[in-house]
Every structure is written in C-alpha cells, then in structure tokens.
C-alpha cells in the first residue's frame, strides 16, 4: 500500500507539469493584455512597451513559462499584476473563507443527503421517495445564481433577516454569530447543489445493494432491518458515495465561482473571477495549480478509501 501511494504521488509530478503548461498557454491565449490596465491614453508606444517589459510580457511565451516555473519551484509564486501583492499572500487570505464556506456546505449537504438517499431507497416508489427525488430534481435544475438571488431577495431584502453578502459586517467587533449570519444563505445555495447530487447517488447505490443476494441471506438469518442496514447495506453502498465525495472535495479548495460572486464571499472563487477579468496571470496560474493539486490528492484519497471499504480491491505495487 505504501509503495502504491508513493507511486501515485510520483506520477502526479509530471501530471502537474503538463497541467501547468496547458494552463499557462490557455491563460496567455485569452484575448486582452494585462498591460492594458496600466496604460493611459496619453502614453507613447515606447512607454507602453516599457510597461509590458516591466511585467515580463515582452519575452517569448516559452521563456515566460520557464521563468514562472523556476520561481514557482523555489516557492515564489510571483506578484499579482492587479495589486502588486505577492500571490502567496493573496491566495492564503482567500483560502480561509473558501475553506469555511465549502466545508460547512459539504457537511450540511452530506448530513442531509445520506439519510435522505437511504430513506428514499428504502421506500422506493412511495410518496416520500417521490418527494425526495422531486426535491433533488428541483435543486439540480435550479441554477445557483437564481437560487442565490431569490434567497437574497426574500431573506435579506424583503424580510431583512440576513445580510445580503460578504463575510462580516465591516468596522465591527466580529464574533461567530456575525459570521454564521453571513454563512446561512451561501451555505444553503451550495449545500442544495451538493446534496441533490449526493441523494441520487446514495439512493441508486443503496437500491442496488438491497437487491443483492446477501441481503436476502441476512434477512433469512433473522436479522432485524436496522441491523441489515447498518452491517450489510451501508458499507457495500459506500463505493459510489465515496466517488462523489472525491469529486466534491477539490471544490473545498477551488471554491464556488458563481455562489461566491453572488454573495461577495471573499474566497478563491471570487478571486478567480477577478483575476480573469484583470488578466492577472500569476494569480490565475496559482489557482489552477492549487486546484490541480487538490484534485490529485482527492483522487488518491478516494482510491485508498476504496481499498479500505472493499476487501476485493487491492492495489499491486
């Protein structure tokens, strides 16, 4: 197992290199020039060139990449084109809020989705099942920006119960309650998306296990349904559930672009949008690499979890 993990980690190094090259090319191919933001209409052509040279944009793309990767490997992610801050500082400022929002959203989502999915499966085709499935259908088809705006309109504008956005009331002594108030609406939007997806997977997975012969064996042994559920159904339906968790986890780092934007949440998602708008190449590249690492770690964790759940899954070497 240790060998297998080491191998997977080693493989992810060239993968990350390829991702960085692809991302670098794509980022630089986007129309627009970061120097545009520094240029005023009365500048001469020479002055424009000087600005571009100062940002390192006059060099061939290949050299720019080599410069970037050499710095990146020594831990220097460069400076933001937009506000001249070190990229590392910007990212670490934004990471906290995203971690808070996304991890709470995921916990809320799973804590509701897993029981609901199991209940739906156990009462297949009943009114309760249809209600739960209808609810997930509603959530999956509702775009988050619309749900977000609707919630803001109802709870913040009309009822004035919750703040419209942001993470804290500025210029005030900030306590947990203030943060919680700001979290409610974005967590509802994020969690409803995550949970709708999860409910469907849990329901399908549990239904499949319920149809297996070994459940009939457990029943014939005289086990109570509660015991069958706990000892025979749950563990065997975990594989697809863990897979979904694996695809959700990287978002804890990568953030939610749309929801963060709507609620002006100061996280990675809204930073991404800002960086794209200002063609802030160093910040964009850092976000891409960070997300890629998160995806690779999540995948590896999921694969290790598979082996822990199902004794039939063994990794050689």
């Amino acid at each position: 197992m240790g060998k297998y993990i080491l191998k997977r980690v080693l493989i992810s190094i060239p993968v990350l290199f390829l991702i960085s090259i692809g991302a670098f090319i794509l980022v630089h191919l986007t129309p627009g020039d970061p120097a545009d933001m520094y240029i005023s209409p009365d500048m001469t052509a020479a002055q424009v060139e000087m600005t571009r040279a100062a940002l390192g944009l006059d060099k061939p793309l290949f050299i720019q990449y080599v410069d970037w990767i050499a710095n990146f490997l020594t831990g220097n992610m460069g400076f933001s084109f937009a506000d001249r801050q070190p990229v590392l500082d910007i990212i670490s400022q934004r990471l906290g809020p995203t971690l808070i929002l996304m991890s709470i959203s995921l916990i809320v989502a799973y804590a509701t989705a897993i029981p609901l999915g199991i209940i739906a499966a156990l009462h297949k085709n009943s009114k309760l099942d249809r209600a739960i499935i209808g609810w997930t259908f509603f959530n999956v088809s509702f775009p988050p920006f619309f749900l977000g705006l609707a919630l803001i309109y109802i709870f913040a504008v009309e009822l004035d119960l919750l703040p419209t956005g942001g993470m804290e009331v500025l210029g005030m002594e900030n306590d947990g309650i203030d943060l919680a108030e700001h979290l409610v609406l974005p967590v509802i939007v994020m969690a409803s998306q995550f949970s709708a997806n999860m409910i469907r997977y849990v329901r399908a997975s549990v239904l499949e296990v319920l149809g297996q012969n070994y459940i009939r064996t457990a029943l014939a042994k005289g086990l109570k349904w509660r015991q069958i559920l706990r000892f025979h159904v749950l563990r065997n339906s975990l594989i697809p559930i863990v897979t979904v968790i694996g695809t959700d986890l990287p978002k804890v780092i990568g953030g939610a672009v749309i929801t963060e934007q709507i609620f002006q949440w100061p996280g990675i998602g809204s930073l991404t949008v800002a960086a794209i708008n200002s063609r802030d190449y160093p910040v964009l590249m850092a976000i891409v690499i960070l997300s890629a690492i998160a995806v690779l770690i999540a995948n590896l964790t999921v694969d290790i979890a598979y082996a822990a759940i199902d004794p039939r899954i063994k990794y050689s070497k």
Binding site: N213, T217, A218, L219, A220, K221, L223, H232, I309
Partner: protein, 366 residues
C-alpha cells in the same frame, strides 16, 4: 424415523403485483414435512417451488407479495403467514434456516466469513462476541473447511464456490434449526463438488436431527437425497410421494416427462427426450389443467377442469384425471412401464415404501 409432522403448509397461495398485472406464482400448495425427513420439491424454472419455500420464511419482497387469505403455514402451532414481523425474526435463521442457490453472491463481500457466521449466532443467542466467533470456527470445521481459524478471518472472495456454499451451510446451521430449506444449493457448483455438498447436508441432517426441504430441478440430486418428493407445475404440486414412488411408480404424465428427460448410462438415442412446449404464462393461465396443452395424454376434461388429487397409496397422491375411475386406460412411455414393473415386483409394500426411505436416511450417517 419418527413420523411427527413439524411443518404443515395448507392451500398456500402467493401472488406478485407486477407492472403487467397480478401473477399467481403459487396456486394452492399443500404438504407437510415430518421431523428428520428430506422432502424434495422438483419442478421447472417458474413452477413456484422457490417462491413457496421463501414464503415459509417470509423472505419475499414485502410490498409486492400477496398471500392467499385461507393459506396457512403451521409451525409449532402458529400460522407463520399471520405472525408479526418481530416474531418472524426469531424464527428465521433460528428455527427455519435457508441456503440459497448462488453461493457466489449470497455472502456479504465486505464482511469476513467468520463474522457472518458469528452474526447469525449473535442474532439469536445472547453470548459474548468472542464466544460466538469460537462457535463460528467450530461450525466451519464441522462443514469441512480447512484451517477454520485462519479462514474465518478471510473474505468470501478468497473462497471457491464449493467452500462458499460450505460457509453458507455453516451460517444457516449456526443456531441448529429445526428445518433447513435448501434452495438449489448445488446448481452453481460443478458435479464433484455437488455430491460433496449433498453428502454434507445429508450428514448434518442426521447429526442435528433436522428436516430438510430441498428445492431443485435436478432429478439426480433428488435421487441422492430425498425421502419424499413433491413435483410442482405452474404453482401447484401435481404429484407427491416417497422418492421410490415418484421414481418407480409415477402417475402424472408430467412426472413421466421429467423422468423420461433424465439421461441414463444406457441411453442410446441420439436425442434426449424433452417435454414439448413451455410452462404457461402465469399472467394468463389456461382453463383447466395448466399442463394439458403440453400433455400427450390429456383428456377432454383436462381442458375444462383442473384435476383434484387422487390417492395412489397412503403416501402417494397425484393430480391427474387419468386416475379417475372412469378415465380410459393409457399406455405410459416404455421407460415408465419398465420402472413400474420394477416397482411392482420389488418395492411394493404395505407401508408404502417407507422402508426405502429409512435405508436412505441412515445412509447419510456413514
């Protein structure tokens, strides 16, 4: 062999609600099971043999199953069909255990086999976990699993099919049940393993003084294990008798067909005989006897009215109009005539062949 009846099934009807309508899978099954005997239930796929046995332990899908109102399954003076679920839980596995057809999928793949057997014990007995585990290991060696201590920590996928079926048997015997229902336990196994498993069940039956209901479509298996045989067709028992009576003095044309389809060592024909046609669609049952359309010996009345049971001997009953006093005499297939001659010369006894059954029971104790 004692002759007290341990289980009585009366007029059992089981129907399923399906998208196409209500399917009557079992249409009035009546039989009784005596302590210590092996009753084989024989029939084609879809004849309702599995369903009627699963009904005994009520392991059928709860929502879509309908039991006929006047049907009864009497065990220890109680009707299992009307027992509340909690009481049924204390009978399932404890008093009436089951082994299923497919040992490859009948064990939980993510639980060690030792735990699965121990779980069976812990469900019905209030003993410490470690003790249940010891008991499980004992059971594993009883059913002939090598290195039971080590094997108990293994998962089902680390066992071969035959070994898994042994685990299934150990699991079902965990609480020393009164009745073991074996639902085609050897169908998925190869022939050499088949006879090992059959001998094992036979052996344990005597050791634990159980009654066994053996569901199968393999007459070879029946000959190997059964004291009595019930032949099912389209949800009904059409002939029931001692193994000897069914094999050597069959009365129902369907039983004739089954026996003639069995290859023997001196079969010289190029083609093996098979009963023409297919079992009826249970959604649209034909009028009269369900077997009539496939029956070369069908009488006009077969298409009008279902035959009742006619008594052949105290232990032997068959549902065919051919046994009616007014029925015309027919000539059964040559193979059946040959067998009936053997029966009439050597086996026919006042006690209806229970002597044969006795010899057979004791053969398991070897």
């Amino acid at each position: 062999m004692t002759t007290d009846t341990i289980l009585k099934v009366n007029n059992l009807h089981v129907s399923f609600r399906t998208l196409d309508g209500i399917v009557d899978a079992v249409r009035g099954v009546t039989f009784d099971l005596k302590r210590g005997e092996t009753l084989a239930i024989v029939g084609e796929s879809g004849s309702g043999k599995s369903v009627s046995m699963k009904a005994i332990n009520r392991v059928l899908p709860r929502k879509n199953t309908i039991f006929g109102k006047d049907g009864e399954i009497i065990y220890e003076g109680k009707n299992l069909l009307s027992l509340p679920e909690e009481e049924m839980e204390s009978i399932r596995g404890r008093k009436i255990a089951m082994i299923f057809q497919d040992p490859m999928t009948s064990l939980n793949p993510t639980m060690t086999v030792g735990r699965q057997i121990a779980e069976s014990i812990l469900t019905h007995e209030d003993i410490p976990k470690a003790e249940a585990m010891k008991e499980a290991i004992k059971l594993m060696s009883l059913v002939g699993i090598r290195n039971p201590e080590e094997s108990s920590r293994n998962y089902p996928h680390q066992f071969s099919g035959g070994m898994r079926q042994r685990v299934m048997i150990a699991l079902s015997l965990a609480c020393k049940p009164d009745i073991l229902i074996a639902d085609e336990p050897t169908t998925a196994l190869d022939v050499t393993i088949q006879s090992q498993i059959l001998d094992l069940i036979d052996d344990l039956k005597v050791k634990l003084n159980m009654s066994v209901i053996f569901i199968t479509h393999d007459l070879g298996v029946v000959a190997h294990v059964a004291d009595r045989v019930a032949v099912m067709y389209a949800g009904k028992i059409i002939e029931i008798g001692t193994a000897e009576e069914i094999f050597y003095n069959p009365q129902h044309p369907y039983t004739w067909g089954l026996i003639c389809s069995m290859p023997t060592l001196d079969t010289t024909d190029d083609h093996l005989y098979s009963i023409p046609g297919a079992p009826p669609n249970m959604l649209h049952m034909p009028k009269g006897d369900a077997f009539a359309p496939r029956n070369a010996y069908a009488l006009a009345i077969d298409f009008e009215k279902e035959p009742p049971f006619f008594k052949v001997s105290d232990t032997h009953y068959a549902a065919t109009w051919l046994l009616h006093p007014q029925a015309p005499a027919v000539t059964p297939p040559a193979e059946i005539i040959r067998r009936q001659e053997i029966f009439n010369t050597f086996m026919k006894q006042e006690d209806g062949g229970s002597n044969y059954a006795y010899r057979h029971t004791s053969s398991g104790a070897r």
